[in-house]
């Protein structure tokens, strides 16, 4: 299978014809439109190695995330970055290529923080291996993490090694009726205190937070913070993670990443805030340029997450000096620009 995929890439390289890498296809909406023939990685499945005591899991790229999560759960472990599946057959490779993380991200780390190593095929069909299966490794440049969020434009991932973590013994979710400004301040104040916070959300006048850890610690924090305990907390966070709440049905859907302490962005439309204030979801027809400027002033960037891509692309355009480096790196990993052409930035 690996052989076959690598031959397809070599052939595409030789004939200069673009390829669209596809795993489970759960995130085809994300990024700019790409062009070319679909190259499926679906055959690359299976957990290669899992050592719960080493906190390391290695699996082939198209292993379904659901399978990985079930295997980890059987050993009371988890992917701590809580990757979204968007209700589809999400795979490990797509999860890492997209680099998206869920509600636990501000408190546990992002997808990139847990990647230890990758095997990949570059744009000339060359198989490469970077990083490894150990938690500490500083030999060579960190190419494995460079692949996270590169949307397959630097290589086709064939295998990924991740650090995994124990599942918390107890989780409770609490809700507070609070206005937006106060909620943002609270999220940040609480994150600066020794509390077992593991997720935060604010929408429509309700601050929701999740506490995770030893049962005693979670209950002590609950007693201290107050609020109303949510009956089905895990369903709440799953709806937010996978965007199955009706709020996320509207188009265009923008993801505004900002300094977490940024006060309410008064853009005239309701927002859904998560990640301790660092992400603001917005479903509204607003001028992309206006959004990009507003968010830049808040130390961040705006992404058209779902809906029609604006003229300057789904992602915030790069500063010229960084754009040069991106093109240089792309050229080294995919000299003919055949992998997911245009998906990340229209110019490559």
């Amino acid at each position: 299978m690996l052989q076959e995929i690598s031959e397809r890439v070599r052939a595409a390289y030789a004939s200069d014809s673009p390829l669209i890498i596809q795993g489970g296809g759960s995130k085809t909406f994300y990024g700019n439109a790409d062009e070319g023939e679909v190259l499926s990685t679906r055959a690359l499945t299976g957990v290669v190695d899992y050592q719960p005591k080493e906190l390391v899991l290695t699996a082939r790229a198209s292993t379904p995330l659901a399978d990985i999560e079930a295997l980890l759960a059987a050993h009371s472990q988890m992917l701590a970055f809580e990757p979204p599946c968007f209700g589809g057959p999400a795979t490990l490779g797509g999860c890492i290529a997209a680099g998206l993380s869920g509600p636990r991200r501000p408190y546990a780390g992002a997808a990139r923080d847990f990647v230890l190593g990758v095997r990949m095929i570059d744009g000339s069909g060359q198989a490469l291996r970077f990083g490894g299966q150990v938690i500490k490794n500083v030999a060579g440049y960190d190419v494995s993490r460079l692949m996270v969020g590169a949307l397959g434009t630097l290589g086709l991932l064939t295998e990924v090694s991740l650090k995994v973590l124990p599942k918390p013994a107890e989780e409770i979710s609490l809700q507070f009726e609070l206005d937006e400004a106060t909620a943002i301040r609270r999220m940040n104040e609480w994150a600066g205190q020794p509390l077992p916070l593991s997720a935060t959300s604010w929408h429509a006048g309700l601050l929701t937070l999740r506490l995770s850890g030893a049962a005693s610690a979670v209950h002590a924090a609950q007693a201290r913070l107050g609020g109303d305990a949510l009956k089905d907390g895990s369903a709440f966070w799953q709806r937010l993670r996978d965007q199955t709440a009706p709020f996320f049905d509207k188009r265009p859907l923008w993801r505004l990443a900002v300094r977490p302490t940024t006060p309410p962005l008064n853009l005239g439309y309701a927002q859904w805030i998560e990640w301790g204030g660092a992400v603001r979801w917005l479903a509204a027809e607003l001028q992309p340029a206006v959004l990009r400027t507003t968010v830049k002033g808040a130390g961040g960037h705006a992404t058209l997450f779902r809906g029609d891509t604006p003229a300057d692309g789904a992602f915030t355009p790069l500063a010229p000096a960084l754009a040069v480096l991106h093109r240089n790196l792309k050229q080294r990993f995919d000299p003919r620009g055949i992998l997911n052409r245009g998906r990340l930035y229209p110019e490559f």
Binding site: Q51, P52, K53, E54, R105, P106, G109, R112, D113, L128, R129, G132, Q133, V134, I135, K136, N137, V138, A139, G140, Y141, D142, L146, V148, G149, A150, P166, A169, N188, E189, A191, G192, P194, L195, P196, G213, A214, A215, S216, A217, A221, A257, V258, R259, P260, A278, V279, A298, G299, T316, L318, A321, L322, L325, N328, L329, Q331, R332, F333, Y345
Partner: protein, 484 residues
């Protein structure tokens, strides 16, 4: 040698006291923390602000003069070793803490700020900067980013790459790069990760925004003694399998225990083969629960003695022994050579047995200190550089230990970096296509290879010259031959 014309231009960019090229001024810069490698720099530039850094880089670029960036010089792999004909760019005068935002939990600092100084400045807000390399009183954050430094707490709190948000860095051409941001991610490729641990090969950092964490409410340490290292290694796995991620999880072998005890009188038991220190931290209740679990697991795993530090004073005493392990071993022998491999933890008994065989073969004693939680092994090879041939023997022994780490699925460096020291072993760990790609990543930033030339990533023809080859299927060609 640098031309007088170049030196005079360099002097015109900086105040007179910021350019050193008298021999007695240059000597303090001839090595980093790995003092077996020494080379007197041609010239040292000590810029006082970012604009001067940019001007120096532009000048060097225009004259095709190489630049070696250096922070506090505490690195352990010769990464900041001066290169002939290069400018040694010392960033220690860029040492201002520019801002601390307690609500957003970030600090903006210049590269010369010491690691510990960040936590000291944040302490008033009950916040701290988590990565704590053992050199943290002296090492600076710019070097931490260049090496992706860890520390005893990194199993739980991560390495430098997990604890920074944003960099201001300059290419050799004098182009400013603003990488990362104040939000939790950035569009495009993860250049923040690529620059972290890049050992001064890609760009020169002039500002770092770090994350700050709330100080844990409570920390407590358990000490456990074992009759053999394999049992101690298994206990580490059992703790993790029980769902506890300790803040620190350290192991020492007999020689290291004895040296540390003789040096700082930490109260360690001396009749054991391995000692484990397991620290748990966090919210008060969680620490109590975790301590209970850890003690149970240690007992079930065959510990011969288990002690919980009863006071903060005793906790610090337990740690004092571990933290003084290197200098303590230094008292046993005129010189020691510290290795830095990482291995899958299950391989520990095998690796320690092999190291002990090699120790007999080379006639050099070894003390082992192990960041057990994350598999990072520091064998300390004892030798006497004044005995002809002993340094070479120690180096040859060390390189075989690193090759052993690669053989069992690990890596030649967990946290000290490749620098000059392990550049030959890079040819063992990586095959030609990966090394080629590393060199191409380098030229994406620095086409003329002027930043820290000769470090971190070997040129391919050097691998052939050295005769170093990658382990294939766990088999080195001619395994009977010592390699160097």
């Amino acid at each position: 040698m640098l031309s007088p014309a170049f030196l005079s231009k360099l002097r015109s960019l900086l105040p007179a006291h910021c350019v050193l090229n008298e021999r007695e001024d240059l000597l303090p810069f001839e090595s980093d923390g790995l003092a077996v490698y020494r080379n007197t720099p041609d010239v040292v530039a000590l810029p006082e602000d970012e604009a001067q850094v940019a001007a120096i880089l532009k000048l060097c670029h225009a004259h095709r003069v190489a630049v070696v960036a250096r922070g506090a010089g505490t690195g352990l792999s010769g990464g900041a070793l001066p290169v002939d004909g290069a400018v040694l760019l010392v960033l220690s005068k860029l040492n201002r803490i520019k801002a601390i935002d307690p609500l957003a939990r970030t600090a903006v600092v210049e590269p010369g700020v010491r690691n510990l100084a960040i936590s000291e400045a944040a302490a008033v807000h009950n916040l701290y900067y988590a990565p704590d390399p053992s050199s943290q009183i002296a090492c600076s954050i710019g070097g931490n980013v260049a090496e992706n430094s860890g520390g005893v707490h990194c199993l739980k709190y991560g390495l430098t790459v997990h604890n920074i948000l944003k960099l201001r860095a300059w290419t050799i051409a004098g182009q400013l790069l603003e990488i990362g941001g104040e939000s939790l991610d950035s569009p495009g490729y993860d250049l923040l990760a690529l620059l972290t641990g890049s050992e001064g090969m890609l760009a020169v950092i002039t500002e770092v925004t770090v994350k700050l964490l709330p100080r844990p409410e409570r920390a407590q340490v358990v000490l456990a003694a074992f009759d053999d290292v394999a049992t101690a290694g298994a206990a580490v796995g059992n703790i993790i399998a029980a769902g506890v991620i300790p803040a620190g999880l350290e192991m020492m072998d007999r020689l290291a225990i004895q040296a540390a005890e003789a040096f700082v009188h930490a109260g360690y038991p001396l009749d054991c083969a391995a000692l484990l220190l397991c620290e748990v931290d966090g919210v008060n209740e969680e620490v109590s629960d975790d301590l209970y679990i850890v003690r149970e697991v240690l007992e079930a795993s065959g510990a011969t003695e288990i002690r919980t530090a009863e006071s903060e004073q005793e906790r610090l005493k337990f740690w004092a022994g571990r933290k003084a392990a290197f200098p303590a071993v230094g008292r046993l022998s005129p010189d020691y050579y510290c290795m830095d491999g990482t291995i899958p933890r299950t391989q520990l008994p095998h690796v320690l047995a092999r190291i002990s065989e090699m120790s007999a073969e080379y006639g050099l004693a070894v003390a082992n200190v192990f960041h057990a939680g994350d598999g990072n092994l520091h064998p300390l090879i004892l030798f006497d550089a004044n005995q002809p041939g002993e340094l070479e023997k120690a180096e040859a022994f060390g390189s075989r230990i690193l090759e052993l780490c690669v053989e069992v699925g690990g890596t030649i460096t967990g946290e000290h970096g490749v620098g000059l020291e392990k550049i030959k072993q890079m040819c063992v760990q990586f095959a030609i296509p990966e090394l080629t790609r590393f060199n191409e990543v380098k030229t994406a930033f620095d086409p003329d290879t002027l930043l820290n030339p000769g470090k971190a990533v070997p040129e391919l023809h050097r691998c052939a010259e050295w005769g170093a080859m990658r382990v294939h299927d766990g088999q080195l060609p001619h395994p009977e031959l010592p390699r160097f």
